[in-house]
Symmetry: C2
Subunit: 476 residues, 2 copies
């Protein structure tokens, strides 16, 4: 952990600063919780959105775009849902000088806008399953401390998918598909995650149950980066979304929804960061390779000439490459691009030039690799793949080290205090889960999924037979 | 014009219907002026956005994303601007159960959100020119009749570009660049246009002058599809956007902004339509080619087999192609895809099969072309290019026919009544322009740009020497 002190020990300050200096966002917009995406940040965002869209399209999800404004009467139909959201909804009450007849909510999420339309679109079993998604801005009136990309009043990049099914079984199958999609997505981002079923007291408003993906910030707090909800028939009953079965009878559809926001980008920045700044996985980096000539007396012209040739060759190979010919010292250029997370730097100095080679420097490890000039176009894409693989492996290794299996509440408190995530044996009883939250400075993420149940272990609260792992951490 | 009656004579009804049946938009969302983009329409929209972004990126514009919400104090700083917009701004007044301290406007356009940030970003001449753009949703509280894609309360697809310059000359150069970009954009869409300088009484609120692109609907009304504004120093003075000159003195920047909305997509639908439905230029069509097998007794299997092979081949060639194997009559399939504007249909029936060929049918002309099986992959992209060229030529021809050069106000009224656009000689005097608007059932679009000034002609109102062409039409 040497050399990682600021990133780990003063993470919040590090994050706010890097977001601004690496030109991800302008954080000085004069409304709390609203920020401006800068060109470099927006390119990163667009690559992330593309990857997610590709995974959704490939699995038969079709993109739509619903209005932002939801009339109050529609919004308030599902009682649980409105109870969960009413404290944080922005209301439009006036148009021009007129008071509106019906107040309009800025969507905090789109169930209540979409499902009345589902009731028009879905008539028979032939219309099912229906699988749609959109990427939109949504709004939450946050009263807590806001933070760029993490806690926002305008979430600018909310990918929400919504599906409808003929049977509960098909909805369950869809939940599994959604989890698979999200796994693939975060794997591409090289972001490690733990998957839990959220406890009953932390389920999405209106859902039967919720599953969440969490990753870990350097300060030991978990960040929820994706959620998958089984809505059962809760919404279809209220919005009257029915289909005619083959036998002529009618049934309400079974629904799921699942979402990912720009927190995925926050995770990308935080997980792969260090004291210098960002390190971006090559697939998502707005600039994958930067070429820095190191001019020296009378070899300046030929060095710059060779750099330009390399630039053209890499560009032709389809890479996002930048040639930095600014009138700055090489060291300043290195620092400039390192902060911005460019995964590979190519240096060309007089010694390189004399030896007909370049020096490639990996952002993730700092490793310096000599590459003969005539092999650059072939070697650079290989190096980028190697960087991706090793970034993913390292992120998972560090993540796993910090998931601690623990046998008592005291130890749990200790582990959380030391910036770890604790997993403890649990009887499955809500009461015991709530008691844990009271006794430690952390929150229950939920019951760990896709791992083996504890064997011959007792619940850390009631000491009855444990049948689940409960995951507990400080959270964002 | 035979066979085009409904499209021309009942255009409004035709448009509303085709938007719904061709699955561009769901028009039944229960708030006036808000609609839902359906998957097919959204694909069309995304192709249009891509083309526009490409043109902007190529000319050095960088994409950003600003917040939707603008605090009232910031919004109301520029007096002219707010006078132009205050009647149509939506206001957020509450968050959860709290009344907000400062009301928040839903952006009707983003000058007042962006330029306070410009004042932070721009310090010296080295920061200029600044050229940014974003594609966002904007809001207008429309009290008039709303219409999908044309008159909306949520404009979902507003591309707004904003630039800042060191000198008035450089801002003028930018205006010319913007016009060039928009010409290229509409040329790609095969949409004809007339370019005018809007009259003083119809200039964008806060601008020095405004230039607009208008196209023509089948019902003879013009549709504004793009605008370019020279803002001078009007906003930079108010928002204090200054730069330090080489000599150390300070000056306010010169600004321009220019926008295009989903009206470009409305134009695409209306200009190239006919009584059947849409006809989309191949570059933008969500589906460029549809393959329809015409099964016949015992040749059904081999026909479908050949169709599948063609489908694979065209897909590999990078085309957006669909193979329609639904259990419907071929005629129903033709109609289905024709309404949706698929530019080319490939039929394969028993005679085609016996002759080792397909029959390609052009959506724009109805022309039937036999193509030998082994030449399909080469001939289809050619045909698509031919379709594009001839759609563009035909649209311009019909457009030009309906721009009438006219010498008197009575004739002008007559021309407008007959669904034409009139251009009349004009002295350039505001009073005469306003009088024309009073005397005919149309609006002044403005002074025609990029054409020769009238020679030896007199103004249709005051009969003084005319030095400009004034363009007058019924408008959307």
């Amino acid at each position: 952990m040497v050399g990682r002190s600021r990133w780990q020990n003063n993470f919040s300050e590090w994050f706010n600063e890097i977001v601004q200096v690496a030109e991800i966002m302008e954080t000085r917009y004069p409304v709390k919780g609203l920020y401006v995406w800068l060109p470099y940040g927006l390119k990163l965002r667009n690559h992330v959105i593309s990857a997610l869209k590709e995974l959704l399209e490939r699995t038969g999800h079709r993109e739509v775009l619903f209005p932002l404004l939801i009339p109050e009467n529609l919004f308030k139909k599902e009682a649980e849902h409105i109870r969960g959201f009413e404290g944080q909804v922005y209301w439009v009450t006036h148009g021009g000088h007129d008071r509106l007849d019906i107040r309009l909510a800025l969507r905090p999420t789109s169930e209540t806008a979409m499902y009345p339309m589902f009731s028009l679109w879905i008539q028979s079993h032939a219309d099912l399953p229906l699988k749609i998604y959109q990427v939109v801005n949504v709004f939450r009136y946050e009263t807590k401390m806001t933070k760029p990309l993490i806690r926002l009043r305008e979430v600018t990049t909310f990918k929400e998918a919504h599906t409808a099914h003929a049977t509960a079984e098909d909805a369950e199958r869809q939940i599994r598909e959604a989890i698979q999609i999200y796994k693939q997505f975060f794997d591409r981002l090289c972001i490690p995650y733990i998957i839990t079923k959220r406890p009953s007291w932390d389920t999405f408003a209106g859902a039967v149950y919720s599953i969440a993906f969490d990753t870990l910030a350097p300060d030991g707090r978990t960040l929820q980066i994706g959620t998958v909800h089984n809505l059962g028939q809760n919404f279809s009953r209220v919005y009257d979304v029915q289909y005619e079965r083959v036998d002529g009878s009618y049934e309400h559809v079974y629904q799921t929804c699942y979402g990912i926001s720009e927190r995925a980008i926050a995770a990308l920045i935080m997980v792969h960061g260090d004291d210098i700044g960002m390190c971006l996985p090559p697939e998502f980096a707005p600039i994958q390779v930067v070429i820095v000539p190191i001019p020296y007396k009378d070899v300046q012209a030929p060095i710059e000439q060779t750099c330009t040739e390399i630039y053209e060759r890499l560009k032709q190979a389809g890479l996002r490459v930048e040639l930095d010919l600014r009138d700055l010292r090489p060291g300043n250029k290195y620092y400039y691009w390192e902060r911005r997370g460019v995964p590979l730097r190519i240096e060309l100095g007089p010694t390189d030039h004399a030896n007909q080679r370049v020096t490639a420097v990996r952002r993730d490890t700092g490793e310096r690799i000599h590459v003969p000039l005539d092999r650059v176009a072939e070697r650079v894409p290989q190096l980028l793949r190697e960087i991706e693989t090793s970034m993913r492996r390292r992120a998972w290794e560090e993540f796993r080290k910090r998931i601690k299996t623990i046998a008592s509440v005291d130890e749990l408190q200790n582990a959380i205090h030391n910036r770890n995530v604790g997993r403890v044996p649990w009887c499955g009883n809500e009461k015991c889960g709530l008691e844990i939250e009271e006794r430690v400075e952390g929150s229950v993420l939920g019951e760990e999924l896709f791992t083996e149940a504890p064997k011959n272990r007792s619940c850390v609260v009631c000491f009855q037979q444990a049948n689940k792992w409960l995951v507990v951490a400080r959270t964002y």
